[in-house]
Structure formats: structure tokens, C-alpha cells
């Protein structure tokens, strides 16, 4: 059941992202304070997909920072087999090549 829902949601997100939907991909959450700040903003959001993507700063491709390619595929919150982001404030189906500014390894 979740897999079907995930498929639909993943497609919806993909369509939004490739259409150039603007998100706050920068600045990246480089410091602990920024992470706490972004997570607090996500907490305060209503259950709204577009706003989640905006605040988390989703992009349809990896972002290179400091020689590191930040993609969902290498992110600690990513479940490889389920193609799912397990960050409690997101809990979204994703693609391995996507990225967001809460990436961590």
C-alpha cells in the first residue's frame, strides 16, 4: 500500500522539481544551528508537500559542496531499498540523485 502511495508521491515531487519549482536549496545547513533552525521550521509546517520541499531545499540533482556530492543516495536518512527519506520531519519517497540541504553522511 505504502509503495503505491510512495510511487505517486515520488512522481508528484519529480514533476514539481523538474519544472523548476523554486526551493531554498541555499544556503546549505552547514552548521548545527542551521540544522536546528530548518528542522524547527519543518516542524511548524502544516502537512503540505510543496512547503516541505521548499524549506528543506529539494533539488532534482546532487549539490556539490566542498568537493562532496550531496545526494540522497549517500545521505544517512536515505533507505536504499525503499528509496525513502526517513528524516522524521520529511518522511518522503525520493530518488537517489535528488538532494536537500539537510543532507548528512
Amino acid at each position: 500500500m505504502r509503495e503505491n502511495n510512495d510511487k505517486d508521491t515520488r512522481e508528484t515531487i519529480a514533476t514539481l522539481l523538474v519544472s523548476g519549482f523554486p526551493t531554498e536549496a541555499f544556503p546549505r545547513a552547514d552548521s548545527h544551528e542551521m540544522i536546528l533552525d530548518i528542522v524547527a521550521r519543518l516542524h511548524a509546517l502544516p502537512d503540505d508537500l510543496a512547503q516541505k520541499l521548499t524549506v528543506a531545499g529539494f533539488t532534482p540533482e546532487p549539490v556539490d559542496i566542498d568537493g562532496l556530492s550531496q545526494s540522497c543516495e549517500t545521505c544517512m536518512y536515505y533507505l536504499v531499498h525503499q528509496r525513502f527519506c526517513e528524516l522524521p520531519e520529511l518522511l518522503l519517497p525520493v530518488e537517489p540523485e535528488w538532494s536537500c540541504r539537510l543532507w548528512r553522511i
Binding site: D30, H32, L68, M76, R104, I105
Partner: protein, 320 residues
């Protein structure tokens, strides 16, 4: 029959609670099986007032031999170095500590406050607390770097917040039965038998550590707590997953991160809000690496291990 005295300085009694819950051996076994004479203990001592003072003076003068002196809690120096904020039996506790350490066969510091100052010595350290022979990482503490007890050993540090019950009783038994000389201590004077391996040694989440699957909330039945929840298991010297708590479990087995309570810097980040249960990162990479691992090695290993992780690693694995 070796005499043991246990006193408490700036303490919460957590190590006393721990000691009274020991099982292998228990506090009673110390007396019945190992013949230790517990002269006095804050929760067990019978002497009060003048009688206690008389006993302490007898120990200081050498009239009563003091084989093992166990100290729990920090040495309080406030105000102005007088130690009067922590008075005991008619004088500053720190003065009793000085005198008793001069005559003790062995001195055992139990818990973080007695070993490195612990929570009371956390900035701004209002009680001007010190550990017996360390203040956090710096050697010296209240007794000074050169201190050795009559048996020739420095203070034996059994850290923890609190120390595990059996770490305490096993060390007391070792010194009471004449095996103190066999104890080898690490650079922080912790018995190597307990403090060479890591909290991570024996953690049931090691598979998730290896495959880089993260727990994202306390108590989850899968995932390692290092990546998101601040687990200090890979860099904390403790046997918490070898000598289990209550003979059943450990923090990490139950889904709660190790807070590194056996290390001199505990509590880390001076307990600032949002720090203890969150892995600190810089540019998305953990600030504190597992002991012996460098940043670039960590990144390469993580990416490869994650890509290779099996499906089962993403599913609940622990049962209650």
C-alpha cells in the same frame, strides 16, 4: 580483614545507588564472601556525630588502618578555596579527603564527579569542584599529579554517571584481596580490564553501524544511533555492551544513544540545548569521528557501505 571507608563529596548519590544494586559481587558479598569490613558508608554507616568523628580521626592518626578509601562525588573547593560549602563531620570534606588519602592503602574514585569533576565541574563550575586526580582531561585535580596511595598506585578511577555496579564491586574486591598490583590503568587511570573496549563493542546495532542505516528516533527497533542521535559509542571506553546493565540491556540496545559518560569531557558540549542527543555535523559530516577513523576514510566507507546495505537492514529487527 581489610577496612573500607566510603565518603561522598559533591554528589547525587547515584554511585551509591549503583553500588547497592551490584550483583557480581553484591555489596553483601563484599562482607560475607570477601571479608571486607565496611567501616562507614553514607547509606550503610551506623556511626553518627561524635562517634563518626572519632572513627575518622582514628583513621587519620593511623590508629585504625585504612585499606581502601572510596570517594564518590567531586571535591568541593568553594567558597574561595575553603571547601566550606561541603562540610562533613565538623570540617570541610576536602580536608578529610587530604588527610585520609595520606594514610589510605588504595584510593578508588567512583563516578565522574570523583574522577574528573563530572557535572558539578561543568562550566561555570560554581562549587569550584575537582576530581581527585583530574579536572576533566587535565591531570592533577585535587590531589596533584604526583599523588600515590600507600600501595604505590595513583587514584584508581572508576568513571561513569553512574559507574556500573559491578565495575565498582569488582575493583573493590580486587584491591581487598591483594590483587591491586595486577591492575593496569590507562592514561586516565581507569582499570584497563573495563575501559579498553568501546561502548560499541557488543552493541546489537553494529550491523546497522556497518551498513550505515540510521535510527532517527529513540527506541526504534533498527538503525544505529551514531548518525543522527549523537551516540558516542564508537569513541567511548566502556564495557556497557559486555557487562550489561541489570544483566539485561544497555542504553544502545534499548535505542538510547551512549552519552560518553566514562570519558573525562562528559557532559559534552556543557549540556547546551540541542546538543546531547543530536550528532553534531559540519557540512553534513560528523564532527566527532569514531576513534581512529579520519574524515575522508569515513566518507568513502560510508558511501560504499550504504550502497551495499541489505534490505533487512531497513526493517525492524529487534524484538522486546
Amino acid at each position: 580483614m581489610p577496612n573500607m571507608l566510603w565518603l561522598q563529596g559533591g554528589a547525587c548519590s547515584g554511585n551509591t545507588m549503583s553500588f547497592l544494586n551490584a550483583e557480581e559481587p553484591s555489596a553483601c558479598d563484599l562482607v560475607t564472601d570477601f571479608g571486607i569490613n565496611v567501616l562507614w558508608h553514607p547509606s550503610l554507616g551506623l556511626e553518627l556525630g561524635e562517634n563518626l568523628q572519632k572513627m575518622l580521626n582514628g583513621l587519620v592518626s593511623g590508629e585504625i588502618p585504612l585499606d581502601i578509601f572510596v570517594f564518590e562525588g567531586s571535591v568541593v573547593n568553594a567558597p574561595n578555596g575553603t571547601g566550606q560549602w561541603n562540610r562533613f563531620a565538623g570540617r570541610a570534606m576536602k580536608d578529610w579527603v587530604s588527610d585520609l588519602c595520606k594514610v589510605a592503602g588504595y584510593v578508588v574514585a567512583v563516578g565522574d564527579c570523583a574522577t574528573w569533576g563530572g557535572i558539578p565541574a561543568t562550566a561555570p563550575n560554581p562549587s569550584d569542584s575537582q576530581g581527585l586526580q583530574f579536572l576533566k582531561r587535565s591531570h592533577g585535580g585535587y590531589l596533584g599529579t604526583g599523588y600515590t596511595s600507600k600501595a604505590g598506585l595513583p587514584v584508581i578511577n572508576v568513571p561513569g554517571c553512574p559507574a556500573h555496579p559491578d565495575w565498582i564491586t569488582q575493583i573493590v574486591v580486587a584491591v581487598a584481596t591483594g590483587r591491586g598490583g595486577e591492575l593496569t590503568l590507562d592514561e586516565f587511570q581507569r582499570p584497563k580490564t573495563f575501559f579498553t573496549s568501546f561502548t560499541q563493542t557488543g552493541c546489537t546495532r553494529n550491523m546497522h553501524f556497518a551498513y550505515k542505516v540510521s535510527a532517527t528516533e529513540f527506541g526504534q527497533r533498527k538503525g544505529c544511533l551514531f548518525y543522527d542521535l549523537g551516540c558516542r559509542g564508537p569513541m567511548t571506553h566502556s564495557p556497557c555492551n559486555r557487562i550489561l546493565w541489570n544483566r539485561q540491556s544497555s542504553k544502545t540496545r534499548a535505542g538510547m544513544p551512549c552519552m560518553g559518560c566514562t570519558e573525562p569531557e562528559f557532559p559534552f558540549f556543557d549540556l547546551a540545548p540541542g546538543t546531547v542527543f543530536k550528532t553534531q555535523t559540519v557540512m553534513g559530516v560528523p564532527k566527532d569521528m569514531p576513534t581512529g577513523v579520519d574524515k575522508s576514510g569515513y566518507i568513502k566507507l560510508t558511501a560504499a557501505a550504504k550502497a551495499a546495505s541489505p534490505r533487512w537492514a531497513e526493517e525492524d529487527i529487534f524484538v522486546v
